[in-house]
């Protein structure tokens, strides 16, 4: 297949959008946490948990939307645990985050195995189906790419402007940003830093879980153990790439997904000269590259990683 053909092919762009969605949710979730001053390395585990819990909800007879809410709720719960550790107790954000990832992943696998003990072929659910938006979906090319997607994809695209609006145009968003820049300023203006940070981490974690759930409830129809496969870490890299800006996060996720979609197709078409593993490495290599490129320019939240302890002498 000619490269040019590939880019003119609507299927390619639609696939890009699908690959981007979990990254959009995850990156925005991480971004909200970090904007409030909290690094959340629980993301990989929380995405796994979201993928598992949303899926199992539906598998056990729940409907898709409540399943999604359930995934978000479970994600927020793990966000709360992380908050108690790093916001209230001021413990190492690195270690707590890794611990959360370990715990959430282990619990996901345990729960899945317990509820579905003997499964040789993974059971399936009926995931979100593509919904064509009338008229718009009939547009050539654009219609196929943007307007014949599943509701979760629309949700992902809608949530970006929403996050931008909240972060930059509302008093709450200002408080979140301030929590990541100078928590003492929040405290001095009578706002509870711990609540703001906890809220942000819970909301962010809920988004991460929804990102995980996208995989089991929209992109695929089953839960596999290695499903998240480093996507969470890629999101952490994308936040740096995006320089902590939600708009750039969307661009980053799309760019990334585009290269990934291209990689899959190139892999299929390459005449086995390049081993497939090297194609699979691409997302991880790109993530590192993305951080390298943006490292010098990034304007990180000044109070990132700094715990705030109320009423303590400094």
């Amino acid at each position: 297949m000619d490269i040019l053909d590939l880019f003119l092919h609507a299927g390619f762009w639609a696939a890009t959008l699908r690959i981007a969605c979990p990254l959009i949710f995850g990156t925005l979730g991480e971004l909200i946490c970090e904007r409030a001053g909290v690094l959340n390395l629980g993301i990989e585990g929380i995405m796994t948990m979201g993928a598992m819990s949303g899926w199992i909800w539906v598998y056990k007879g729940g409907d898709l939307w409540t399943g999604l809410l359930f995934a978000a709720f479970v994600g927020a719960l793990f966000g709360l645990i992380h908050s108690i550790f790093v916001v209230y107790l001021g413990l190492s954000q690195h270690v707590s985050g890794i611990g959360i990832t370990m715990l959430a992943s282990a619990l996901s696998f345990f729960t899945f195995r317990m509820l579905l003990p003997s499964s040789t072929t993974p059971p399936k659910i009926v995931p979100f189906q593509p919904v064509s938006i009338p008229i718009l979906s009939d547009l050539p090319f654009v219609g196929e790419v943007f307007f014949s997607q599943t509701p979760m994809t629309y949700l992902a695209l809608a949530i970006v402007p929403l996050v931008i609006y909240i972060l930059y145009r509302t008093p709450l968003g200002l408080a979140v940003r301030m929590a990541g820049e100078n928590p003492m300023a929040l405290e001095a203006q009578g706002i509870n830093v711990l609540s703001i940070r906890t809220g942000a981490v819970m909301l962010g974690s809920a988004l991460m879980a929804v990102g995980g759930a996208y995989l089991t409830m929209s992109a695929f129809d089953a839960f596999y153990f290695g499903m998240i496969n480093g996507r969470g870490w890629i999101c952490v890299a994308l936040v740096i790439f995006a320089s902590w800006r939600p708009g750039k996060a969307l661009i980053g996720a799309l760019l990334f997904a585009g290269i990934d979609a291209f990689q899959v197709r190139a892999q299929l078409s390459s005449s086995a000269k390049i081993p497939y593993q090297f194609f699979l490495m691409l997302p991880y290599v790109l993530s590192i590259l993305a951080m390298v490129v943006m490292a010098r320019r990034a304007r990180y939240p000044k109070a990132l990683l700094t715990p705030f302890r109320r009423g303590e002498r400094t």
Binding site: F85, V95, A106, L107, R113, I240, Y284
Partner: protein, 349 residues
């Protein structure tokens, strides 16, 4: 409720902290066992029996502890300097790759030379795997957590490629598996007819070496200073970049050792499932040991017991053996809190 800094740290509290943490983790796991509807007492009985209940169980547990001691040390050394090396898994595979590359016939030496040679090569390979993250951290301020994590995936895919390509054993009937290590390179068994091998000695010796390094040497002093307060360390004349590089090489080298013990001690050849997450579990080992090198030995044996015992428990009462991962993860989180309480006291009001 608020926290107040203790003016004196109580030795017994520090000693007690990991034990309390493990107790909490076991209580959490009990909740899960109850949820499965299985009897908690019986489940833990089988766990204990499988881990420490017989001579065979002990050899299995100690064999499992061997790589955990090494990856635990790798994490402990790095975390002491606040160098967040989460790439133990990848570095372990690098060590294993080095052993496979050199030990499957390329170099042939008598065992007394061959085994040290393989360990040296493994340590070098593990250390080299950290050069890029160190460079990016010190020169470009790229966070090492993410780079080391991502490198795990890259390294694993690379190993996967080698096992299906250049390093594939033609006799392996299609399995992605490397040629076996030559006999001269295999680590001797410590107990006949068990899986316990010489690697355990290497692990314990490494722990003692690391203890000496941290406690008695200038490098150790510098590592601790950089970990606690890099700015003050730099001001006093300690080179941060050099210290970080040193720590990374030691840490990666230790993880590389773990790759050698698994390839040359336990399995005999490299496969893709050589390590069921030893690199990540090493973080738990290190945290439970409060980053103390000698404590790492104890916590590694304990966590290895959990893993080995969970298999027995899983077979006996049919509880998913992922419960071991839950216990390990929960103890990482609870030890964080219990260690904090050795430094702070909780005041109600």
């Amino acid at each position: 409720m608020r926290l107040e800094l203790r003016e004196e740290t109580n030795f017994w509290l520090v000693f007690l902290a990991p034990i309390v943490a493990i107790a909490i983790a076991l209580i959490i796991a009990s909740g899960l066992i109850i949820w499965t509807g299985k009897p908690v007492g019986e489940a833990y009985f089988y766990l204990l029996k499988g881990a420490f209940g017989s001579g065979f169980a002990w050899t299995e547990t100690l064999a499992r502890a061997t790589p955990l001691i090494l990856t635990g040390l790798a994490a402990a050394v790095a975390f002491r300097a606040r160098f967040w090396n989460i790439g133990g898994e990848g570095q372990l595979y690098c060590g294993a790759l080095a052993a496979t590359w050199l030990g499957t016939g390329m170099v042939t030496l008598p065992p007394v030379l061959m085994i040290p040679f393989l360990f040296t090569a493994g340590a070098l390979a593990g250390g080299l795997a950290l050069l890029l993250p160190v460079y990016l951290k010190t020169k470009l301020k790229v966070d090492e957590v993410v780079t080391t994590l991502l490198l795990n995936f890259i390294i694993l895919l690379f190993v996967n490629y080698l096992l299906e390509g250049p390093l594939k054993d033609p006799m392996s009937l299609g399995w992605p598996q490397a040629m076996p290590i030559i006999d001269q390179g295999l680590l001797p068994k410590l107990v006949e007819k068990s899986r316990l091998h010489f690697g355990l000695i290497v692990g314990i010796a490494s722990a003692v070496m690391v203890w000496v390094l941290m406690r008695f040497t200038i490098w150790g002093y510098e590592i601790r200073a950089v970990g606690h307060n890099p700015e003050a360390a730099a001001f006093a004349g300690i080179s941060i970049n050099r210290t970080v590089l040193r720590v990374a090489l030691i840490s990666g080298g230790l993880a590389g050792f773990a790759g050698i013990t698994e390839v040359a001690g336990l399995k005999g050849y490299l496969t893709l499932d050589l390590s069921p997450g030893f690199g990540y579990a090493g973080i738990a080992v290190a945290m439970l040991a409060n980053l103390r090198p000698l404590g790492v030995i104890v916590s590694a044996i304990f966590l290895a017991g959990i893993y080995v015992g969970a298999d027995t428990m899983s077979r006996a009462v049919n509880i998913p053996n992922y419960i071991a991962d839950v216990i390990v993860a929960a103890s990482v989180l609870s030890v964080l809190v219990s260690l904090m309480l050795t430094q702070y006291r909780v005041r109600l009001r």
